[in-house]
Symmetry: C2
Subunit: 163 residues, 2 copies
């Protein structure tokens, strides 16, 4: 297997994993801070399902990326080659599942925020006190996380197919 950008056990791969971890953690942080911010907890409850799904999906992403980052550090330290077919297949499946979940979570939350902001005008209604900007930052972070994990999953799939 070739030594390409973002392959497992390389410095670029480690950077990608750290980027995924940091962005997913930031997304969780902004979403959790938004839930504490709202004084209209009864209303906040309405968007609970989607927010919880985003937090769960980003939590899974943090665990997965952190695990692989640790594996990359280990491989870099003892100069071990991680690119065998079984391991790369495992990375492909895990990356693909977490990438799909991240995109799904980001899009479903984005759909609801667009509904609030553009169609229902909840964000500009000063009575609501909905922290829309926090939702938006959290969702933007989720999209960045998805972008990084999409790169990783494509690189893994390429490595597996060209082996």
């Amino acid at each position: 297997m070739k030594d390409m950008f973002g392959s497992p056990g390389s410095v670029s791969g480690l950077m990608l994993r750290i980027g995924q971890c940091v962005c997913a953690a930031a997304s969780i942080g902004w979403m959790v801070s938004a839930s504490g911010f709202s004084s209209y907890t009864a209303f906040w409850y309405h968007s609970t399902f989607s927010a919880n799904y985003l937090i769960a999906s980003m939590g899974l992403q943090v665990l997965w990326s952190f695990g692989l980052a640790c594996l990359d550090v280990y491989a870099l330290r003892i100069k071990k080659d991680l690119q065998n077919a079984v391991l790369v297949s495992l990375f492909v499946v895990g990356d693909w599942v977490t990438a799909t979940l991240s995109l799904a979570a980001a899009c479903s939350s984005a759909g609801i925020v667009v509904l609030y902001a553009r169609d229902l005008h909840f964000c500009t209604n000063s009575k609501m006190h909905l922290p829309c900007s926090r939702f938006e930052i959290s969702i933007a972070m989720a999209f960045v996380t998805w972008f990084f994990i999409a790169i990783s999953s494509h690189v893994m799939f390429w490595l597996l197919a060209s082996a």
Copy 2:
């Protein structure tokens, strides 16, 4: 390049393309029928952005899949081999873009329908007359479309990488 399931210019590839076309068209049909069904047009307007995005994304999917289905039929009739690197790269990019758009559209609409049904209880409110079941069928069709296009895009990527 190998002759595998769903490769361009094969019968299985043609079947996949037709499946994408049919499911995307069904998704558009159910969503359009839902918009005519609702008597509460003022309320319906609220979910306009997401519904329009689903329809636009599925429309793009129909065009793309129909074009590739025609190309498959042409290749099958004159027994031409479509598997050269330039053409497959083009298919990979197109499939990947339409797959991402389909998943994004399906998830953002699903997020809103879940918000209506579970959190706001709009679907069980008989005064609203919201055709939630039509939305749900339309979104399910969009997910099936995404599933088919995801298979196609992975096969294309595999063909490109293993060439």
